[in-house]
Amino acid sequence: MIARQPLVLGNKSLKDVTDDICRLVETWPGGKYYAALLSAKGLFLFYLCIQGMIVAFGMGMQGISHPVMWGTDIITFVFWIGIGHAGTLISAILFLFRQKWRTAIARSAEAMTVFAVMTAGLFPILHTGRPWLAYWLLPYPNQRGPLWVNFRSPLVWDVFAVSTYATVSMVFWYIGLVPDLATIRDRAKNIWRKRIYGALSLGWRGTARNWNHYEMVYMLLAGLSTPLVLSVHSIVSFDFAVAQLPGWHTTIFPPYFVAGAIFSGFGMVVTLMCIMREVIPSFKDYVTLHHMENMNKIIMTTSMMVGYAYASEFFVAWYSGNPIEQFIFVNRAFGPFGWSYWIMVTCNVFIPQLFWFKKIRSTIVPMFIISIFVNIGMWFERFVIVVTSLHRDFLPSSWGMWHPTLYDTGAIFGSFGMFFFIFLIYVRLLPVISIAEVKPVLNVGKSGAHHG
C-alpha cells in the first residue's frame, strides 16, 4: 500500500499549528505587507475615481456603444463571479466528499469567494445607466402599483442568484471561522482584542455540544452551498443563453459556464496560494505542494471541459445549419476580434495541458505562471462571448467595433485593487488557514502514523 502523503509537513505539534497560523493575526506586519497594502489601496482608490467619473458623467465614458452595449463591466462581473466558484467548491463539495486536503486551502478559498462576489456585485449595479435606481431590480413592496420586477428577465434571476450566493458563502465562511476566532480570543492579551474576537466568536466554548452543533451546521451549509456551485453560474449564463443573439443563445452555456467558473476559480486559488506560500514561508508546511498539485489536476480537467465546450459550440453552429449562427462563430475565431478568441483558447485549453507533466504541476514557478494565464484566458472567454457576439449580429448595417477607453482599463484593474485590498486586510485580521480543521489531519497522537 502506498503511503498517503502527509497533509501537513514539518512534524508539527498542535501548538505549532496554532502558533503558526495565529502569528499573522497577532504580530505587526512588516514593510512588505504595507507596501502591498498601499499599492492595492492605491489601485482601489483609482477604481473608485474611475467608477465615480462613470456615475457622474455616464456609461459612455467606457468604450461600450451601439451595438456593443455590454462590455468591461459585464465581462469583469462574470469573471469575478466565476472566480468565486472554487471557494464554494472546495469548501462545500470537497467537504462532503471528505477530501481532507481541502483543509489548508478552504479558508482562503472561501474568503476569496466572498471578496470576489463583493467585487463582482458592484459591476451590475454600476453598469446601469442610472445606478442610483438599481434597487428597482429587487422585488419589494412599493407604492408604484405595486410595480414588480419582470420575473421573466434573466437579470432578475441574476439578482436572486448572486445575492443568495453572496449570503450563503458569507455565512458558510463565517461559521467556519467561529472556532478559530475563539482561539484568537483565548490567546488575546489586549482587552479590546479579546472583546472584539470574543464577540465575533459568538460565545464559542469548545465544548462537545458546541462541536456537535458546529459540525452539524457546517455540514448542512455545505449541503446548501453545493447546488449553488452549479446554480449561480448557470443563472449567470442565462443572461446570455436566454437572449436570442447568435453566440449567446446556446444550451451548452450552463455546464460550460460552471466548468469555466471552477477552472478560473482554481486558477485564482493557485495564484493566491503561490503568493501566500512565498510571503509567509511558514505556510509552506500547511499549503503543501501536494495541495497545489491536486488543484492543478482540477485545473487541467476543467480546462479540457471548457475546451470541449468551445469545440462543441462550433460543432453545433455548423450542425444547426443557421447561417448567421455559423457566421458568428467563424467571426469569433477569424473576425476582427479573432485575437481574443485565440488568447482564450491558448490560455484556457493549450497552456493548462502542461500540467500533464508532474514536474510542472508540482513546481511553484510554472504553476504560478500558468495560473495567471488561466486568469487572463478566462477574462477573455467572457470578452469573446460578450463582445464578439454583439459586434456583428443580424443586420450588417448595425455592425460595429468596441474600443476600450481608460475607463475600461480602470474598471478591470481597479477591481483587482479592490479585491486585493480586502484580501490583504483579511490576511491580517482573520486566520487564513482553518486551525480547527488542520489539527485533525495532523499525525499527532495517531499511533498509526509511526507504525503503519
Binding site: L137, S153, I324, F394, L395
Partner: protein, 1039 residues
C-alpha cells in the same frame, strides 16, 4: 415606620395595580409618566427623558435646513400663465398654419405645427401641388433654424477702419440706419444682390425699389442651375428652368443629374417619379449614367459609370445612335449635326460600350414622348439633353417649360461677376445684399470680398451674421420665414402663402419691409407710398388671384394651373445652332476629375448651423459632421488611400486638405467633394466643420464649373476619424476577413419580370411553428408598412422623426463612437461588386414586434407591450441595463450614454430648446429610447375620437416619418381594420417582415424592391470580396 406608612397611605392611590404603585416608588412613577410619552397631546419639556416632541421637531427642522444648505436646489422658475389667453391658443392643443418654405429654388408648401405660440414641427401641405405631404430633410430642419442661437437680434453697424476691416460693431436703430442708407442711395450707383426670388411680392418690391432708386438687381444662387437655364436659352430662346414632369415619364435617363438629391426640386421630382413606380405593366424605368454615386444613381434600374467630362459624349453617342444609325428624326439629315457628332467620335467610344448606346437608344425610341433625358451641370450636356428631348418628342410633355415651369434657379455667376466688376470699376457705390453669402459660397469669394471693400456702403439684410455680413457696413436682421409675411410662386401659377407662425423673436424686419422703409425715408418712387409686405401679399391673393384671403391662409396654396400641369404642351422648336455650343472642345482628359457637389443635408451651407443637418447622415456615404473626399475603391487601392486619411486636393494653384472616404460605385477617375461645409462665421455648430471647397471650382466664360475639374491628389500621413453611421454595407458575401456572412434576408429585390411571374419573388418565408397562439388584439392593432420600391433613401424621415420626438444631436465625437440617437435610420446596402454596385435603402425603425425580444429581458419591465400592439418604452422606469438593445435583432434601440446638453452644450444652446415638442418626454441620461410609432399622435387621435364617440379613422394618425415621406413609402394604420389602407396593402404578397424567421412577429412589414431591369446585380456575378470594407471599418471608428 408607622409615620412613613401613614404618609404613604395618604399619598398612595386608592386603586393600585402593583405594589410599586401603592408604595409610590419613584422609579415606577417615572416610568408611569413616560408610558404615553409619544402622545402628541403631551406637551412637557421633557428635560429628563431625552428630547420632547417640539424640541425634536425643532432640531429636525434645523438639521434639515442645515443639510439642504449645502445642496442648492435648481433655481425656481416661475411659469406665468396667460393673463388674457389669446383665443386661438388652448394650452396643450397644437395649432397648425399653412405656410411655405423656399430652399435655394426648391419650394415647399408646409404646415407649421405650433404649441403655445411656438413653431415646433413642419409637415408638408398635402394639398400643395409641388411637394404634397412630402418634405425634404432640410425643410423639416428649418424649424430649428428659427431658434438658431447665431441669429441677428437687432440692426447693427460695423465700424470699418481704413483698411476696410471691421474694428467694432455697434447697435443702431432702424431709423438711423434707414436714414443713412437712404442718404447713401441718393448718391446713386446702387446694386441689389439677391438669390433667385420666387416670391412675387418680393420681386415686385425689389423691382419697385430698383425703379425708384435706379438700382441694378443682381441675382446669384450659391448652388447654381445656370447651365440648365442657359442651355434652355440657347436651344429654345427661353431662359427658363422647366419643370420635370416625371409623372409622365416611363423612361428617365439621367446623365450626371441628381434629380432626387439636389437638382431643381428633388422632393417634387421624387414624388412624381414614384407615381410611375408601381410594379407591373407600365412601371417606369430609370437609367442613370454618372460619375459619383448619387441618390438618383442609387435608385437606378440600370446604372453606368462615366467620367464627369463624358456627360456630353454619352448624350452625343445616343444622338448618333438615334439620328445616324436609326435615322429617326427630321434632324437625321442635318449635316451640321453630323459634323459635331463626328468630332465626338472617339469620346463616344471611350465613354460607354457600343452595345449600351444601342440598347438605351432603342429604349428611348420605344418611349418616344414618354421619356425624359436629363443632362449634367454643364451647358454642353444640357444642350445635348435638350436636343434628345426634342428628337424624342419629350419637349412639352415631360419637359414643362411653359405651363408651370420652375420660377427659381435664375441666379447666375455672371451676375455676381458683373457686380464684382462694377464695384471694382467704381460703377457701383452701394450694395444691398439679401440672404446670400457670396463671401462664403462664391467661386471667386476672395474677389468678391475685395470688391465689396471698395463699396462706399454695403448693407446686409439676413438672418445671421455671416461671412458676407462681416464685411458690410449695415447688418439688418431679416425675419425667419416663419416670422414674416410672404408669398411663393415656386412654379408658375402655383401661389402659396407664407404666414407668420410666431411673433418675431428678435428685433428683425423682413427684406421687403426694409426696402419699403428705406424707400419711405428717401422717398424713392412708388414704394414710398407702399404700406408693408403684408398688404402686398394680401392684395395679391385678393385682387390679383381673386381668392378669399381667409381661405388662402387656411389652404396655404392657390393652384391656377391644375389642369394645365396635367395636359401636354406643344414642343418648342429646337435651334440646331445651339449644338455648336456643345461642340467638342479638344481638352484632354485629366488623369483625375473632381466633382464638387452640393450635399443633400447642407446644400449651399446656408442652414449649416442647424445641428440636425450637420448630424444628418448623408444618404449615400452615411457620414455626417464632415465633407469627405470620396474616392472609388480601385482608386484608393492604386493611390494607397485609406478611409479617413487626409488627402490634399489640388486644382490649379488652389488646394484643400480633406479626409478620404472610399465610396463604392464611383468612377475610378472621379473624386467628389461636397459643398456647404467649412463655414467660418455661421455659429458655434457649423464653424470649421469640414472644409469649404467652393474656391476649387473654376470660373469659365462667367459661368461656374464644378464638375470635371482636373485635379491632383496627395495622400498625407495624417488621419481623421469620420463620423460614419453605417460602417458595413453588404448584405451577403464575405467580410474583409473573408468570412462568409451567409444569406440574410434584409432587402429583397426582384426584377420586374420576376415580379410579374411571382409577386412574392425572392422572398423566403420561414415556416414557423409556435406553441403559443399569441395575444389576441381586440381593439386597435397598430402596424406599418414600408414599400422599399418607393423608398429612395432621401432620409427626410430621419429629420422629421428628430423634430417630432426631441431626439438629441450628439456631435461628431459621439457619432464616431456610435452614439447617434436616431429612432429611424435609413440603412444603405450595396449589392454586386464594389466597383459597380447597386444600392438599396431600407428605413429601420422599431419593429414593434408582437414577440418582442427586448420586453422579456428587461428586469424592471420598462419596456412592455401595449394591448394595441405597440412596444412601449417607459423612460422613468428604465434603469439602463441595456439588455433590451443587446437582444434587439434590429438594433433600433438608442441609449442616452450621456447628458448630451451637458456634454455638447453648443448643440443644445438656448433658444433651441424652444423647438422641443411638449408632447414628448425629453429623455434623461442613462435611459434607453426608441421609436414609439409616434405614440403621442396615436393618443391625440384616440382622444379626439373618444370625444366624438367614434373609432379613429383610417389615415387620421400619421407618424412623423410617414408624413414626411415624399414618395408615401410609409403607411401607418390599424391592422385590425380590414378596410384600412394598411391592411389592404399588406394583402399584397410583396410584403415580408425583416428577420421574420426569428418569430419576432414585427408590426412593420417591408415590400420588396422591384427593379425594372433584366438581371439583378446580386444574381449576375458571384460575390466578390468587398475591398472597401477593409478601410471602412478602420476609419469608421478610431484609427
Amino acid at each position: 415606620m408607622t409615620t412613613t406608612e401613614n404618609s404613604l397611605k395618604n399619598k398612595s392611590p386608592k386603586y393600585w395595580l402593583s405594589l410599586e404603585q401603592w408604595r409610590q416608588d419613584p422609579d415606577f412613577q417615572r416610568l408611569a409618566e413616560q408610558e404615553f410619552s409619544n402622545s402628541p397631546l403631551r406637551e412637557d419639556s421633557g428635560s429628563e427623558g431625552g428630547w420632547a416632541r417640539r424640541e425634536f421637531l425643532k432640531l429636525m427642522g434645523a438639521s434639515m435646513a442645515l443639510a439642504s444648505f449645502g445642496c442648492v436646489r435648481r433655481p425656481a422658475q416661475a411659469i406665468v400663465p396667460y393673463v388674457k389667453r389669446p383665443k386661438e391658443i388652448v394650452e396643450g392643443i397644437a395649432n397648425y398654419y399653412a405656410s411655405s418654405f423656399v430652399d435655394g429654388g426648391e419650394t415647399f408648401g408646409v404646415v407649421v405645427t405650433t404649441r403655445e405660440g411656438r413653431p415646433i414641427h413642419v409637415t408638408g401641405n398635402s394639398s400643395h401641388p409641388i411637394n404634397g405631404s412630402g418634405l425634404s430633410a432640410r425643410a423639416h430642419a428649418h424649424v430649428l433654424s428659427l431658434y438658431d442661437p447665431a441669429r441677428l437680434t437687432g440692426p447693427t453697424k460695423n465700424l470699418q477702419n481704413e483698411k476696410k476691416t471691421n474694428h467694432d460693431t455697434v447697435e443702431v436703430t432702424y431709423e438711423k440706419a434707414d436714414q443713412e442708407i437712404a442718404d447713401q442711395i441718393r448718391k446713386g450707383k446702387v446694386a441689389i444682390l439677391t438669390g433667385s426670388i420666387v416670391s412675387p411680392t418680393d420681386a415686385e418690391i425689389v423691382a419697385d425699389f430698383a425703379k425708384g432708386t435706379g438700382a441694378h438687381v443682381y441675382t446669384w444662387d450659391a448652388i447654381s442651375h445656370e447651365h440648365y437655364v442657359d442651355a434652355q436659352e440657347h436651344c429654345y430662346g427661353q431662359a427658363v428652368a422647366p419643370r420635370l414632369a416625371l409623372e409622365k415619364a416611363k423612361l428617365v435617363l439621367a446623365v450626371n443629374c441628381d434629380f432626387m438629391g439636389t437638382w431643381l426640386q428633388p422632393t417634387q421630382q421624387m414624388r412624381d417619379f414614384s407615381k410611375g413606380r408601381k410594379p407591373g405593366d407600365g412601371m417606369n424605368r430609370l437609367i442613370v449614367i454618372e460619375s459619383l454615386l448619387t441618390l438618383t444613381g442609387s435608385n437606378a434600374d440600370t446604372r453606368y459609370r462615366i467620367r464627369p467630362t463624358q456627360s456630353t459624349a454619352v448624350l452625343m453617342g445616343l444622338i448618333q445612335e438615334l439620328l445616324v444609325n436609326k435615322k429617326t428624326s427630321s434632324y437625321a439629315g442635318d449635316t451640321s449635326v453630323h459634323a459635331i457628332l463626328k468630332n465626338y467620335e472617339n469620346e463616344i467610344k471611350a465613354a460607354l460600350p457600343e452595345a449600351a448606346y444601342a440598347k438605351i437608344a432603342e429604349e428611348l425610341l420605344a418611349h418616344k414622348g414618354q421619356s425624359l433625358v436629363l443632362g449634367g451641370n454643364d451647358v454642353s450636356s444640357q444642350i445635348a439633353a435638350n436636343f434628345l428631348n426634342s428628337i424624342l418628342g419629350n419637349d412639352g410633355v415631360t419637359v414643362d417649360s411653359r405651363r408651370s415651369p420652375n420660377m427659381g434657379f435664375q441666379g447666375k455667376n455672371r451676375n455676381l461677376q458683373a457686380l464684382i466688376d462694377g464695384l471694382n470699376k467704381g460703377e457701383i457705390k452701394t450694395v444691398i445684399i439679401n440672404n446670400v453669402n457670396p463671401a462664403y459660397a462664391a467661386a471667386d469669394k476672395t474677389g468678391f470680398v475685395e470688391a465689396l471693400r471698395k463699396a462706399e456702403m454695403a448693407i446686409y439684410v439676413g438672418r445671421c451674421k455671416n461671412e458676407t455680413g462681416k464685411y458690410c457696413d449695415f447688418v439688418l436682421p431679416d425675419h425667419h420665414p416663419m416670422e414674416g409675411w410672404g408669398d411663393v410662386e415656386g412654379q408658375k401659377g402655383v401661389f402659396s402663402v407664407r404666414q407668420p407662425t410666431i411673433e418675431p423673436l428678435y428685433n428683425s424686419r423682413s427684406f421687403g419691409d426694409t426696402l419699403i422703409a428705406v424707400a419711405k425715408v428717401g422717398n424713392f418712387g412708388a414704394l414710398a407710398k407702399a404700406d408693408s409686405v403684408y398688404t402686398f401679399v394680401k392684395n395679391r391673393f385678393e385682387t390679383k388671384l381673386h381668392t378669399n384671403w381667409t381661405h388662402a391662409l387656411q389652404e396655404g396654396v392657390v393652384d391656377t394651373v391644375t389642369a394645365a400641369r396635367a395636359a401636354n404642351d406643344s414642343a418648342r422648336p429646337f435651334r440646331v445652332a445651339a449644338l455648336q455650343m456643345a461642340a467638342h472642345k479638344a481638352t484632354p482628359h485629366a488623369d483625375l476629375e473632381l466633382v464638387l457637389y452640393p450635399s443633400i443635408g447642407l446644400r449651399d451651407g446656408s442652414m449649416a448651423n442647424v445641428p440636425w443637418l450637420q448630424e444628418f447622415p448623408d444618404p449615400i456615404t452615411k457620414i455626417c459632421w464632415d465633407n469627405t473626399l470620396i474616392v472609388s475603391p480601385k482608386l484608393a487601392q492604386d493611390r494607397k488611400i485609406c478611409e479617413g486619411q487626409m488627402v490634399r486636393v489640388k486644382v490649379g494653384d488652389k488646394s484643400v486638405t480633406v479626409p478620404a472616404h472610399i465610396q463604392p460605385g464611383l468612377h475610378d477617375s472621379t473624386i467628389g467633394l461636397a459643398l456647404g461645409y467649412g463655414r467660418t462665421d455661421a455659429g458655434q455648430v457649423a464653424n470649421n466643420v469640414g472644409v469649404n471647397a467652393v474656391h476649387l471650382s473654376v470660373v469659365r466664360d462667367g459661368g461656374v464649373e464644378t464638375s470635371g475639374l482636373p485635379v491632383m491628389i496627395e495622400p498625407t500621413k495624417s488621419y481623421e476619424t469620420l463620423a460614419n453611421t453605417q460602417v458595413y454595407s453588404a448584405m451577403s458575401g464575405k467580410t474583409r476577413e473573408g468570412i462568409d456572412m451567409g444569406h440574410r434576408q434584409i432587402v429583397v429585390e426582384a426584377t420586374l419580370e420576376q415580379y410579374k411571374k411571382d409577386p412574392s419573388a425572392n422572398i423566403e418565408r420561414e415556416k414557423i411553428v409556435s406553441a403559443w397562439s399569441g395575444f389576441s388584439y381586440t381593439g386597435y392593432k397598430w402596424g406599418m408598412s414600408v414599400d422599399l420600391n418607393l423608398c429612395t433613401g432621401c432620409s427626410a424621415c430621419v429629420i422629421a422623426c428628430q423634430s417630432e420626438n426631441n431626439i438629441a444631436t450628439v456631435g461628431k465625437k459621439y457619432v464616431s463612437q456610435g452614439r447617434e440617437m436616431f429612432w429611424v435610420r435609413v440603412d444603405r446596402y450595396y449589392v454586386g461588386t464594389p466597383d459597380e454596385p447597386d444600392a438599396v435603402h431600407i428605413p429601420v425603425m422599431c419593429q414593434h414586434c408582437d414577440n418582442a425580444p427586448c420586453e422579456t429581458v428587461c428586469p424592471v419591465a420598462a419596456t412592455v407591450h401595449s394591448p394595441e400592439g405597440t412596444n412601449d418604452m417607459i423612460y422613468n422606469r428604465c434603469v439602463g441595463t441595456r439588455y433590451c438593445s443587446n437582444n434587439c435583432p434590429y438594433k433600433v434601440r438608442r441609449f442616452n450614454w450621456f447628458n448630451y446638453p451637458r456634454m455638447t452644450p453648443e448643440l443644445h444652446a438656448s433658444p433651441m430648446h424652444m423647438q422641443l415638442n411638449p408632447e414628448v418626454t425629453v429623455r434623461e441620461r442613462g435611459v434607453m429610447e426608441k421609436c414609439t410609432f409616434c405614440t403621442q399622435r396615436i393618443h391625440q387621435a384616440k382622444n379626439q375620437a373618444k370625444l366624438e364617440d367614434r373609432k379613429v379613422h383610417d389615415g387620421e394618425i400619421q407618424t412623423a416619418c410617414q408624413s414626411s415621406c415624399p414618395t408615401n413609402a410609409i403607411v401607418f394604420g390599424d391592422l385590425n381594420d380590414p378596410k384600412s389602407k394598411l391592411s389592404q396593402m399588406l394583402a399584397e404578397p410583396r410584403y415580408y417582415g425583416l428577420l421574420e424567421e426569428l418569430n419576432t412577429r414585427p408590426a412593420v412589414q417591408y415590400a420588396s424592391k422591384i427593379r425594372n431591369t433584366d438581371v439583378l446585380k446580386s444574381e449576375e456575378s458571384p460575390h466578390k470580396e468587398k475591398h472597401h470594407e477593409k478601410h471602412e471599418e478602420k476609419g469608421g471608428h478610431h484609427v
